[in-house]
């Protein structure tokens, strides 16, 4: 059992870490690699802190960290409008991650299906993509394959389930964000044009952050299957 002081220190540390990773997310121009920025696309390294909380702490702590991260980074770096976007993404993502943390293989499977759907939609909208769209189509294709591979690997017990949860969380985050944006911006066309892009990107970056989180857990000798916040 931890003392209250330890708990406060831990929350402070995790919040600070989330903020710093959020700053790093902003600094990495992910979409510049695709030839131009697109709003809402980030690597999502800050999500590893939430993954940590989801697996190694209780749900209240995860909710607290998510709110602290969204609100503080919104106030420090952004505006109230920005808070609105990331809050709806954050809530949806955390909800999904908490729900499937014990069944990560289904997360990977759903993510794979969603990514495949997004890919199909993109190709229907523009069967001969060029420029940014071409890169995105390739990226989502790869992400889709990785999701299915992760699903099989988790089922067979080859890897732990953290990436599965992370992918599902990232996709949910992006869906929440686009939903909020399409309402705030009064542009429902975002749902048909931009949502597939963000779903695909979510699958890709979710895999990355999931692997990072998995490595971190391993390096810290923590077992995500035996959270300390819960009694046996």
């Amino acid at each position: 059992m931890h003392t209250a002081t330890q708990k406060v220190a831990r929350f402070g540390l995790l919040t600070a870490l989330a903020l710093v990773l959020g700053l790093l997310d902003r600094a990495i121009p992910l979409t510049a690699l695709l030839g131009g920025a697109a709003p809402g696309i980030k690597l999502g390294l800050a999500n590893t802190v939430l993954l940590y909380a989801v697996y190694l702490m209780d749900w209240q702590s995860a909710v607290f960290l998510m709110l602290a991260k969204v609100i503080l980074s919104g106030l420090i770096f952004g505006s109230l409008t920005a808070i609105l976007y990331s809050l709806s993404g954050g809530i949806l993502s955390l909800l999904v991650m908490l729900l499937i943390r014990r069944k990560p293989e289904s997360g990977a499977l759903c993510a794979g299906i969603l990514a495949a759907g997004a890919e199909t939609m993109l190709l229907i909208q523009n069967p001969h993509p060029g420029g940014q769209r071409l890169w995105i189509v390739i990226l989502i294709g790869v992400a889709c394959a990785v999701c299915f591979a992760a699903w099989i690997a988790i089922r067979k017990g080859k890897i732990r389930g953290v990436p599965g949860t992370s992918i599902a969380g990232a996709i949910a985050h992006n869906i929440g964000q686009v939903l909020a944006a399409s309402i705030v911006l009064r542009t429902p066309q975002l749902l048909s044009t931009y949502l597939p892009v963000l779903v695909g990107i979510g699958a890709a970056v979710g895999t990355l952050t999931g692997i990072v989180a998995e490595r971190v857990f391993r390096a810290l000798h923590m077992n995500p299957d035996k959270p300390e916040g819960q009694k046996k």
């Binding site: 979409t31 944006a181 044009t193």
Partner: protein, 475 residues
Amino acid sequence: MNKRNSFLRTMAALIVMTLVMGGCGYRHAKASDLPKQTRVGYYLDTVITLTAYTDQPELLDKGLEYCGEYEKMLSRTVEGSDVWNINHAEGNTVTVSEETAEILRTAVKISEVSDGAFDITIAPVSVLWDFTSGSQIIPESATIEQAARLVDFRQIQIEGNNVTLPAGMMIDLGGIAKGYIADAVKAKLEAAGITSAILSFGGNIVAIGLKPDGSPWKVGIQDIDEPTGKTMMVSLNYGGSTVTSGIYERGFTVDGVTYHHILSSETGWPVQNELASVTIFSDSSLMGDALSTAVFALGTEKGSRLIESMDGVEALFINRDRSAAGTSGLGKYMEEGENWITLEQPDSAEKTEEPLTLLIQVRESDPAPGYILLQSANEQGFLALPIEGEVTRTIRQKLDDGSEWLNVIRMTPEGFCMIEADCEGHDCIAEGEVTLENMKDRLLWNMVICAPHRLTLSLYTKEEAIQISRQWLGY
């Protein structure tokens, strides 16, 4: 300490902190808490836009219905209308409605003071001209000369509600009916309790009271060289009427001569003088409508003398060389204009095709190859791409606390990009250029989004833009 308790307490503290900090710089509630309502209709060959702060939007629907009723009464082409009856009476006396009689009396009064420069018996001439279909046909000068002989307001006899017009002559209330209807709709809305509204009827803008924050309404005066919606100046409306007549509204150009819809009652030809447009500021839109035509026909010198002789009326003259002049009391009605596209204001542009200086009706005949659909928290509308060269536009969103959000776009004949913005992150600038060529290959398709400013700009081809504008207007 109880774990759950401390958790809840921390959460509560965090939320309170957010609300307090969020309160600074965020949008406050309107001075008047009533929501802004807008209704758009198409009557009298014009897009009519009624905007009011009210919780009874059905009043605005009623207002549009009135427009339809008056159109039936005052149209020259609707069979059985008062005007149709007068024109087809073959010299016999016709009994008309109270309203028609009042309009005719005002028309004759303005004709008298303007020495016939404004004349509703212009119809035999105006039917010869076709300024709307784009046919660009100049009538035979002999035909015009013959028709011009039939123009003489002194022949109209009005006794009570009985009107007599000599056979062969015709009247057309096109230069005055919109003014009357504007006044009438305003009166009805006022009687229904609306205290803050701006109503746009083609070149006629009338306002009820001031804006909810107590400032005057702003009415954009369109740039004479840019028929697709740039504002040249901004005028102020304190709950009265602002009417503009200009050569760019309806007309065509052949061999360098602009043939426009303001016809000389003497010769039957379009009035050719130094003027490009005249704007009349008055209480009555009926008066303003007739005066704008009369003053345009009279020219700056005689026109301003006429206006100076009247109480409570001012005029703004814009010349074809883009210089401007005004009558002595004009200052009150003018604001320094800049190359802004303002979303909250102007509340209405003087041309109805683009209220708020944004196009809502895209036509086949418009020359631009593409359009930018602009959607903000408050407004939406089209900006036409320039025909050639580069144009820079500043989009300013005024917030209720007096602060502003700025975005600057650069437009080319092929597309546009964001070049400046005072948002954080500047994502909208990094999103790069959208062109008619590349829009299907971009991550954001045809869009540039400034998420913090709640602004979406999307590029559409002319065909798509016409489709969208039809959906809005429902025709």
